[in-house]
Amino acid sequence: MKAMLSAFVAALVIAYGATQILPTFGWSSAERGSAEFSVRRD
Protein backbone atom coordinates (compact mmCIF):
# COMPACT_ATOMS: atom_id res chain seq x y z
CA MET A 1 0.00 0.00 0.00
CA LYS A 2 2.87 2.39 0.83
CA ALA A 3 4.52 1.65 -2.51
CA MET A 4 1.25 2.35 -4.32
CA LEU A 5 0.59 5.65 -2.57
CA SER A 6 4.17 6.84 -2.95
CA ALA A 7 4.01 5.97 -6.67
CA PHE A 8 0.84 8.01 -7.10
CA VAL A 9 2.41 10.94 -5.28
CA ALA A 10 5.54 10.54 -7.40
CA ALA A 11 3.41 10.68 -10.57
CA LEU A 12 1.96 14.01 -9.45
CA VAL A 13 5.39 15.34 -8.47
CA ILE A 14 6.79 14.34 -11.86
CA ALA A 15 3.82 15.99 -13.60
CA TYR A 16 4.34 19.22 -11.65
CA GLY A 17 8.09 19.01 -12.21
CA ALA A 18 7.50 18.71 -15.96
CA THR A 19 5.69 22.03 -15.98
CA GLN A 20 8.65 23.63 -14.20
CA ILE A 21 11.50 22.01 -16.11
CA LEU A 22 10.22 21.91 -19.70
CA PRO A 23 9.86 25.70 -20.07
CA THR A 24 13.57 26.03 -19.34
CA PHE A 25 14.10 24.19 -22.63
CA GLY A 26 11.81 26.62 -24.39
CA TRP A 27 8.70 24.46 -24.32
CA SER A 28 5.43 24.74 -22.49
CA SER A 29 2.23 22.86 -23.17
CA ALA A 30 0.26 25.96 -22.24
CA GLU A 31 2.10 28.28 -24.62
CA ARG A 32 2.80 25.87 -27.40
CA GLY A 33 -0.18 26.68 -29.56
CA SER A 34 -0.36 30.40 -28.90
CA ALA A 35 0.25 32.89 -31.66
CA GLU A 36 2.68 34.90 -29.54
CA PHE A 37 4.86 31.85 -29.10
CA SER A 38 4.75 30.29 -32.53
CA VAL A 39 4.63 33.23 -34.91
CA ARG A 40 7.34 35.78 -35.37
CA ARG A 41 5.94 39.15 -36.20
CA ASP A 42 8.29 41.43 -38.07
Partner: protein, 390 residues
Protein backbone atom coordinates in the same frame (compact mmCIF):
# COMPACT_ATOMS: atom_id res chain seq x y z
CA UNK B 1 14.72 -3.04 -30.86
CA UNK B 2 13.76 -1.65 -34.22
CA UNK B 3 10.85 0.56 -33.26
CA UNK B 4 9.97 1.52 -36.79
CA UNK B 5 9.61 -2.10 -37.83
CA UNK B 6 7.49 -3.00 -34.82
CA UNK B 7 5.32 0.05 -35.29
CA UNK B 8 4.98 -0.71 -38.97
CA UNK B 9 3.91 -4.28 -38.28
CA UNK B 10 1.43 -3.30 -35.58
CA UNK B 11 0.09 -0.48 -37.73
CA UNK B 12 -0.34 -2.81 -40.69
CA UNK B 13 -2.24 -5.32 -38.60
CA UNK B 14 -4.44 -2.62 -37.14
CA UNK B 15 -5.05 -1.15 -40.58
CA UNK B 16 -5.95 -4.51 -42.08
CA UNK B 17 -8.20 -5.33 -39.14
CA UNK B 18 -9.96 -2.00 -39.30
CA UNK B 19 -10.28 -1.94 -43.09
CA UNK B 20 -11.72 -5.23 -44.27
CA UNK B 21 -12.57 -3.72 -47.65
CA UNK B 22 -10.56 -1.34 -49.78
CA UNK B 23 -12.16 1.46 -51.77
CA UNK B 24 -12.88 0.50 -55.38
CA UNK B 25 -11.13 2.49 -58.06
CA UNK B 26 -13.28 5.00 -59.90
CA UNK B 27 -13.88 4.25 -63.62
CA UNK B 28 -11.78 6.14 -66.16
CA UNK B 29 -13.18 9.56 -66.98
CA UNK B 30 -12.99 11.41 -70.29
CA UNK B 31 -12.01 14.98 -69.36
CA UNK B 32 -11.51 16.30 -72.88
CA UNK B 33 -14.66 18.40 -72.62
CA UNK B 34 -13.24 20.31 -69.65
CA UNK B 35 -9.75 20.60 -71.05
CA UNK B 36 -8.44 18.09 -68.49
CA UNK B 37 -10.10 19.74 -65.50
CA UNK B 38 -12.38 18.03 -63.03
CA UNK B 39 -15.74 16.75 -64.24
CA UNK B 40 -19.05 16.01 -62.56
CA UNK B 41 -18.15 12.31 -62.79
CA UNK B 42 -15.08 12.91 -60.61
CA UNK B 43 -17.17 14.64 -57.97
CA UNK B 44 -19.84 11.91 -58.07
CA UNK B 45 -17.16 9.22 -57.78
CA UNK B 46 -15.76 10.85 -54.64
CA UNK B 47 -19.21 11.11 -53.13
CA UNK B 48 -19.63 7.38 -53.78
CA UNK B 49 -16.44 6.73 -51.74
CA UNK B 50 -14.59 5.52 -54.84
CA UNK B 51 -10.83 5.90 -55.06
CA UNK B 52 -10.30 8.72 -57.59
CA UNK B 53 -6.89 9.03 -59.20
CA UNK B 54 -6.06 12.66 -58.45
CA UNK B 55 -3.00 12.81 -60.68
CA UNK B 56 -4.98 14.67 -63.37
CA UNK B 57 -4.85 17.73 -61.12
CA UNK B 58 -2.05 17.03 -58.63
CA UNK B 59 0.37 16.85 -61.58
CA UNK B 60 -1.27 19.63 -63.57
CA UNK B 61 0.73 22.45 -62.03
CA UNK B 62 1.61 24.48 -65.12
CA UNK B 63 4.92 24.67 -66.92
CA UNK B 64 7.34 27.56 -66.60
CA UNK B 65 8.77 26.66 -69.99
CA UNK B 66 5.56 27.94 -71.53
CA UNK B 67 5.83 31.30 -69.85
CA UNK B 68 5.36 34.34 -71.98
CA UNK B 69 8.32 36.70 -72.09
CA UNK B 70 8.36 39.12 -69.20
CA UNK B 71 8.88 41.94 -71.65
CA UNK B 72 5.41 41.38 -72.98
CA UNK B 73 2.39 42.90 -71.33
CA UNK B 74 0.25 40.77 -69.00
CA UNK B 75 2.74 37.92 -68.48
CA UNK B 76 1.44 34.53 -67.48
CA UNK B 77 2.74 34.27 -63.94
CA UNK B 78 5.73 32.19 -64.94
CA UNK B 79 3.74 29.98 -67.24
CA UNK B 80 1.42 29.04 -64.44
CA UNK B 81 -2.14 30.19 -64.08
CA UNK B 82 -3.74 30.98 -60.74
CA UNK B 83 -5.45 27.60 -60.88
CA UNK B 84 -2.06 25.93 -61.39
CA UNK B 85 -0.64 27.74 -58.37
CA UNK B 86 -3.71 26.90 -56.29
CA UNK B 87 -3.36 23.23 -57.16
CA UNK B 88 0.34 23.35 -56.35
CA UNK B 89 -0.49 24.85 -52.96
CA UNK B 90 -3.08 22.22 -52.32
CA UNK B 91 -0.75 19.35 -53.15
CA UNK B 92 2.14 20.98 -51.31
CA UNK B 93 4.23 21.33 -54.45
CA UNK B 94 5.39 24.89 -53.83
CA UNK B 95 8.17 26.45 -51.86
CA UNK B 96 6.77 29.71 -50.56
CA UNK B 97 8.84 32.44 -48.94
CA UNK B 98 7.62 33.04 -45.40
CA UNK B 99 8.25 35.26 -42.42
CA UNK B 100 7.31 32.51 -39.96
CA UNK B 101 10.10 29.92 -39.79
CA UNK B 102 7.89 27.28 -38.11
CA UNK B 103 8.15 23.78 -39.59
CA UNK B 104 4.55 23.67 -40.77
CA UNK B 105 4.26 27.28 -41.93
CA UNK B 106 5.22 26.48 -45.51
CA UNK B 107 2.11 24.37 -46.01
CA UNK B 108 -0.56 26.78 -47.19
CA UNK B 109 -3.35 24.28 -47.81
CA UNK B 110 -3.76 20.90 -46.21
CA UNK B 111 -7.03 19.16 -46.94
CA UNK B 112 -6.59 16.15 -44.68
CA UNK B 113 -8.32 17.85 -41.76
CA UNK B 114 -11.87 16.68 -42.46
CA UNK B 115 -11.00 13.00 -43.11
CA UNK B 116 -8.93 13.06 -39.89
CA UNK B 117 -11.75 14.70 -37.93
CA UNK B 118 -14.35 12.29 -39.29
CA UNK B 119 -12.17 9.28 -38.53
CA UNK B 120 -11.50 10.54 -35.02
CA UNK B 121 -15.10 11.41 -34.21
CA UNK B 122 -16.51 8.37 -36.02
CA UNK B 123 -14.82 4.96 -36.21
CA UNK B 124 -12.19 5.66 -33.53
CA UNK B 125 -14.83 6.63 -30.97
CA UNK B 126 -17.30 3.95 -32.10
CA UNK B 127 -14.94 0.98 -32.34
CA UNK B 128 -12.74 2.09 -29.44
CA UNK B 129 -15.67 2.71 -27.13
CA UNK B 130 -17.30 -0.57 -28.20
CA UNK B 131 -14.08 -2.44 -27.46
CA UNK B 132 -13.99 -1.05 -23.92
CA UNK B 133 -17.64 -1.84 -23.25
CA UNK B 134 -17.16 -5.25 -24.91
CA UNK B 135 -14.27 -6.34 -22.70
CA UNK B 136 -16.11 -5.17 -19.58
CA UNK B 137 -19.22 -7.14 -20.62
CA UNK B 138 -17.08 -10.17 -21.44
CA UNK B 139 -15.44 -10.08 -18.01
CA UNK B 140 -18.80 -9.77 -16.27
CA UNK B 141 -20.04 -12.83 -18.18
CA UNK B 142 -16.79 -14.65 -17.42
CA UNK B 143 -17.08 -13.80 -13.74
CA UNK B 144 -20.57 -15.27 -13.50
CA UNK B 145 -19.66 -18.29 -15.64
CA UNK B 146 -16.33 -19.18 -14.06
CA UNK B 147 -16.55 -17.41 -10.74
CA UNK B 148 -13.63 -16.14 -8.75
CA UNK B 149 -10.58 -18.37 -9.11
CA UNK B 150 -9.97 -19.58 -5.58
CA UNK B 151 -6.94 -21.10 -3.91
CA UNK B 152 -7.50 -24.87 -4.00
CA UNK B 153 -7.68 -26.13 -0.44
CA UNK B 154 -7.65 -22.58 0.92
CA UNK B 155 -4.76 -20.32 1.86
CA UNK B 156 -1.73 -21.77 3.60
CA UNK B 157 -1.61 -18.91 6.07
CA UNK B 158 2.10 -18.32 5.48
CA UNK B 159 3.38 -15.90 2.88
CA UNK B 160 6.26 -15.49 0.48
CA UNK B 161 7.58 -12.22 -0.93
CA UNK B 162 6.46 -11.89 -4.52
CA UNK B 163 7.54 -8.34 -5.38
CA UNK B 164 9.96 -5.96 -3.66
CA UNK B 165 8.91 -2.40 -2.80
CA UNK B 166 10.77 -0.92 -5.79
CA UNK B 167 8.99 -3.32 -8.14
CA UNK B 168 5.60 -2.38 -6.70
CA UNK B 169 6.51 1.30 -6.89
CA UNK B 170 7.38 0.94 -10.58
CA UNK B 171 4.18 -1.02 -11.25
CA UNK B 172 1.96 1.53 -9.52
CA UNK B 173 3.76 4.46 -11.13
CA UNK B 174 2.98 2.89 -14.49
CA UNK B 175 -0.53 1.79 -13.52
CA UNK B 176 -1.58 5.01 -11.79
CA UNK B 177 -0.33 7.20 -14.61
CA UNK B 178 -1.91 4.92 -17.21
CA UNK B 179 -5.32 5.17 -15.56
CA UNK B 180 -4.97 8.96 -15.35
CA UNK B 181 -3.93 9.13 -19.01
CA UNK B 182 -6.69 6.74 -20.06
CA UNK B 183 -9.44 8.68 -18.32
CA UNK B 184 -8.23 12.10 -19.49
CA UNK B 185 -7.64 10.75 -22.98
CA UNK B 186 -11.21 9.46 -23.15
CA UNK B 187 -12.49 12.82 -21.88
CA UNK B 188 -10.54 14.57 -24.62
CA UNK B 189 -11.67 12.19 -27.34
CA UNK B 190 -15.29 11.70 -26.36
CA UNK B 191 -16.15 14.75 -24.28
CA UNK B 192 -17.46 16.78 -27.19
CA UNK B 193 -19.96 14.08 -28.12
CA UNK B 194 -20.98 12.71 -24.75
CA UNK B 195 -20.26 15.25 -22.00
CA UNK B 196 -21.05 18.64 -23.52
CA UNK B 197 -24.72 17.66 -24.07
CA UNK B 198 -24.89 16.62 -20.40
CA UNK B 199 -22.84 19.26 -18.57
CA UNK B 200 -22.70 22.14 -21.01
CA UNK B 201 -19.80 23.92 -22.69
CA UNK B 202 -18.51 25.94 -19.74
CA UNK B 203 -18.26 23.07 -17.28
CA UNK B 204 -16.71 20.84 -19.90
CA UNK B 205 -14.19 23.52 -20.83
CA UNK B 206 -12.87 23.48 -17.26
CA UNK B 207 -12.75 19.70 -17.30
CA UNK B 208 -11.02 19.67 -20.67
CA UNK B 209 -8.33 22.13 -19.57
CA UNK B 210 -7.64 20.02 -16.46
CA UNK B 211 -7.58 16.86 -18.54
CA UNK B 212 -5.10 18.41 -20.94
CA UNK B 213 -2.79 19.43 -18.08
CA UNK B 214 -2.90 15.94 -16.57
CA UNK B 215 -2.52 14.17 -19.91
CA UNK B 216 0.43 16.28 -21.08
CA UNK B 217 2.34 16.17 -17.82
CA UNK B 218 1.54 12.80 -16.22
CA UNK B 219 2.77 11.26 -19.48
CA UNK B 220 6.34 11.63 -18.17
CA UNK B 221 5.51 9.48 -15.12
CA UNK B 222 4.06 6.84 -17.45
CA UNK B 223 7.25 6.76 -19.50
CA UNK B 224 9.39 6.50 -16.37
CA UNK B 225 7.21 3.65 -15.06
CA UNK B 226 7.49 1.91 -18.41
CA UNK B 227 11.28 2.10 -18.35
CA UNK B 228 11.47 0.97 -14.72
CA UNK B 229 9.25 -2.07 -15.17
CA UNK B 230 10.96 -3.02 -18.42
CA UNK B 231 14.39 -3.23 -16.84
CA UNK B 232 13.12 -4.89 -13.65
CA UNK B 233 11.13 -7.63 -15.35
CA UNK B 234 12.37 -8.18 -18.89
CA UNK B 235 14.64 -11.06 -17.81
CA UNK B 236 11.65 -12.90 -16.35
CA UNK B 237 9.49 -12.33 -19.43
CA UNK B 238 11.59 -13.92 -22.13
CA UNK B 239 9.37 -16.55 -23.76
CA UNK B 240 10.33 -20.22 -23.37
CA UNK B 241 8.93 -23.73 -23.93
CA UNK B 242 7.11 -23.66 -20.62
CA UNK B 243 4.90 -20.85 -21.92
CA UNK B 244 3.66 -23.04 -24.75
CA UNK B 245 2.64 -25.74 -22.25
CA UNK B 246 0.90 -23.08 -20.16
CA UNK B 247 -0.97 -21.75 -23.17
CA UNK B 248 -1.99 -25.25 -24.31
CA UNK B 249 -3.53 -25.77 -20.88
CA UNK B 250 -5.33 -22.42 -21.25
CA UNK B 251 -3.57 -21.32 -18.09
CA UNK B 252 -5.89 -23.66 -16.21
CA UNK B 253 -8.61 -21.05 -16.40
CA UNK B 254 -11.25 -23.42 -17.72
CA UNK B 255 -9.85 -26.80 -16.63
CA UNK B 256 -9.03 -25.65 -13.11
CA UNK B 257 -5.60 -27.25 -13.54
CA UNK B 258 -2.44 -25.41 -12.48
CA UNK B 259 0.13 -25.51 -15.28
CA UNK B 260 3.69 -24.90 -14.13
CA UNK B 261 5.13 -21.41 -14.29
CA UNK B 262 8.14 -19.46 -13.12
CA UNK B 263 7.90 -15.89 -11.83
CA UNK B 264 5.65 -14.88 -14.72
CA UNK B 265 3.34 -17.25 -16.61
CA UNK B 266 2.60 -16.98 -20.33
CA UNK B 267 -0.49 -14.85 -19.74
CA UNK B 268 1.52 -12.37 -17.71
CA UNK B 269 4.23 -12.35 -20.36
CA UNK B 270 1.65 -11.48 -22.99
CA UNK B 271 0.49 -8.57 -20.84
CA UNK B 272 4.11 -7.52 -20.23
CA UNK B 273 5.04 -7.41 -23.91
CA UNK B 274 1.72 -5.83 -24.87
CA UNK B 275 2.34 -3.04 -22.38
CA UNK B 276 5.99 -2.62 -23.36
CA UNK B 277 5.55 -2.57 -27.14
CA UNK B 278 2.32 -0.61 -27.24
CA UNK B 279 3.53 1.57 -24.35
CA UNK B 280 6.61 2.45 -26.40
CA UNK B 281 4.51 3.16 -29.47
CA UNK B 282 1.95 5.26 -27.59
CA UNK B 283 4.79 7.16 -25.89
CA UNK B 284 6.48 7.97 -29.20
CA UNK B 285 3.26 9.11 -30.87
CA UNK B 286 2.50 11.06 -27.68
CA UNK B 287 5.88 12.80 -27.82
CA UNK B 288 5.17 13.62 -31.45
CA UNK B 289 1.93 15.28 -30.31
CA UNK B 290 3.57 17.01 -27.33
CA UNK B 291 6.19 18.58 -29.58
CA UNK B 292 4.16 19.49 -32.68
CA UNK B 293 5.93 19.10 -36.03
CA UNK B 294 9.27 18.36 -34.34
CA UNK B 295 9.13 14.56 -34.21
CA UNK B 296 7.63 13.34 -37.50
CA UNK B 297 7.83 9.56 -37.72
CA UNK B 298 5.07 8.21 -39.92
CA UNK B 299 6.59 8.89 -43.33
CA UNK B 300 9.69 6.95 -42.26
CA UNK B 301 7.57 4.15 -40.79
CA UNK B 302 5.49 3.95 -43.96
CA UNK B 303 8.64 3.76 -46.08
CA UNK B 304 9.83 0.77 -44.06
CA UNK B 305 6.39 -0.84 -44.26
CA UNK B 306 6.31 -0.37 -48.00
CA UNK B 307 9.72 -1.96 -48.45
CA UNK B 308 8.93 -4.90 -46.14
CA UNK B 309 5.27 -5.52 -46.84
CA UNK B 310 4.97 -4.13 -50.37
CA UNK B 311 2.27 -1.71 -49.31
CA UNK B 312 1.83 1.70 -50.88
CA UNK B 313 1.46 4.04 -47.93
CA UNK B 314 2.48 7.63 -48.62
CA UNK B 315 6.12 8.34 -47.81
CA UNK B 316 5.93 12.10 -48.26
CA UNK B 317 3.68 13.65 -45.64
CA UNK B 318 2.93 17.26 -44.84
CA UNK B 319 3.72 18.20 -41.21
CA UNK B 320 -0.01 18.36 -40.48
CA UNK B 321 -0.53 14.88 -41.90
CA UNK B 322 2.18 13.59 -39.57
CA UNK B 323 0.26 15.07 -36.65
CA UNK B 324 -3.03 13.61 -37.88
CA UNK B 325 -1.51 10.14 -38.17
CA UNK B 326 0.13 10.51 -34.75
CA UNK B 327 -3.20 11.49 -33.21
CA UNK B 328 -5.17 8.60 -34.73
CA UNK B 329 -2.42 6.07 -34.00
CA UNK B 330 -2.12 7.33 -30.42
CA UNK B 331 -5.85 6.72 -29.91
CA UNK B 332 -5.90 3.26 -31.52
CA UNK B 333 -2.91 2.00 -29.51
CA UNK B 334 -4.33 3.46 -26.31
CA UNK B 335 -7.63 1.63 -26.84
CA UNK B 336 -5.85 -1.68 -27.41
CA UNK B 337 -3.84 -1.09 -24.24
CA UNK B 338 -6.95 -0.20 -22.24
CA UNK B 339 -8.67 -3.41 -23.33
CA UNK B 340 -5.65 -5.47 -22.26
CA UNK B 341 -5.25 -3.60 -18.99
CA UNK B 342 -8.92 -3.93 -18.03
CA UNK B 343 -8.53 -7.71 -18.35
CA UNK B 344 -5.29 -7.49 -16.34
CA UNK B 345 -7.00 -5.47 -13.60
CA UNK B 346 -9.81 -8.03 -13.46
CA UNK B 347 -7.58 -11.06 -12.99
CA UNK B 348 -5.38 -9.18 -10.54
CA UNK B 349 -8.28 -8.15 -8.31
CA UNK B 350 -11.81 -9.60 -8.27
CA UNK B 351 -11.00 -12.45 -10.65
CA UNK B 352 -8.53 -14.36 -8.50
CA UNK B 353 -8.23 -14.91 -4.78
CA UNK B 354 -4.87 -13.80 -3.43
CA UNK B 355 -3.61 -12.17 -6.64
CA UNK B 356 -3.89 -8.54 -5.49
CA UNK B 357 -1.56 -9.13 -2.53
CA UNK B 358 1.35 -9.49 -4.95
CA UNK B 359 1.11 -5.78 -5.75
CA UNK B 360 -0.62 -4.79 -2.50
CA UNK B 361 1.94 -5.53 0.19
CA UNK B 362 4.17 -7.75 -1.93
CA UNK B 363 3.49 -10.85 0.18
CA UNK B 364 1.43 -13.65 -1.37
CA UNK B 365 0.01 -16.74 0.23
CA UNK B 366 2.41 -19.66 -0.14
CA UNK B 367 -0.31 -22.00 -1.42
CA UNK B 368 -1.40 -19.43 -4.02
CA UNK B 369 2.21 -19.11 -5.14
CA UNK B 370 2.63 -22.90 -5.37
CA UNK B 371 -0.51 -23.27 -7.45
CA UNK B 372 0.23 -20.45 -9.91
CA UNK B 373 4.03 -20.14 -9.88
CA UNK B 374 5.32 -23.48 -8.61
CA UNK B 375 8.73 -23.31 -10.30
CA UNK B 376 9.32 -19.78 -9.01
CA UNK B 377 8.52 -20.92 -5.44
CA UNK B 378 10.94 -23.81 -5.87
CA UNK B 379 13.63 -21.38 -7.06
CA UNK B 380 13.06 -19.03 -4.12
CA UNK B 381 13.06 -21.89 -1.60
CA UNK B 382 16.23 -23.33 -3.14
CA UNK B 383 17.91 -19.91 -2.86
CA UNK B 384 16.79 -19.49 0.73
CA UNK B 385 17.96 -23.00 1.53
CA UNK B 386 21.33 -22.19 -0.04
CA UNK B 387 21.47 -18.98 1.98
CA UNK B 388 20.78 -20.82 5.24
CA UNK B 389 23.48 -23.38 4.57
CA UNK B 390 26.18 -20.93 3.64
Amino acid sequence: MNFSFVSAAVFALATLAASPTWADAAPAVDRSATGGAQTLQDIMARQSQLDVDESFRSENLGDSANAAATTESLGTNGGRSDADVYRASRYNEINPTLQDRGPAAGVLIQDGGMPWYQLREGPVVTYGGSALLGIIALLVVFYFARGKIMIDGGPAGTTIQRFKAIERFGHWLLAGSFVALGVTGLLTLMGRQFLIPVMGHEAFATLAVGSKWIHNNVAWAFMLGLIMTFFMWVVHNIPNKLDWEWLKAGGGIFTKAHPSAKKFNAGQKIIFWTVMLLGLSVSLSGLSLLFPFEMPMFAKTFAIMNSVLGTEFPTVLAPHEEMQYANIWHSIVAFVMMVAIIAHIYIGSVGMEGAYDAMGNGQVDLEWARQHHDLWVAEVEAKEGKGDGS
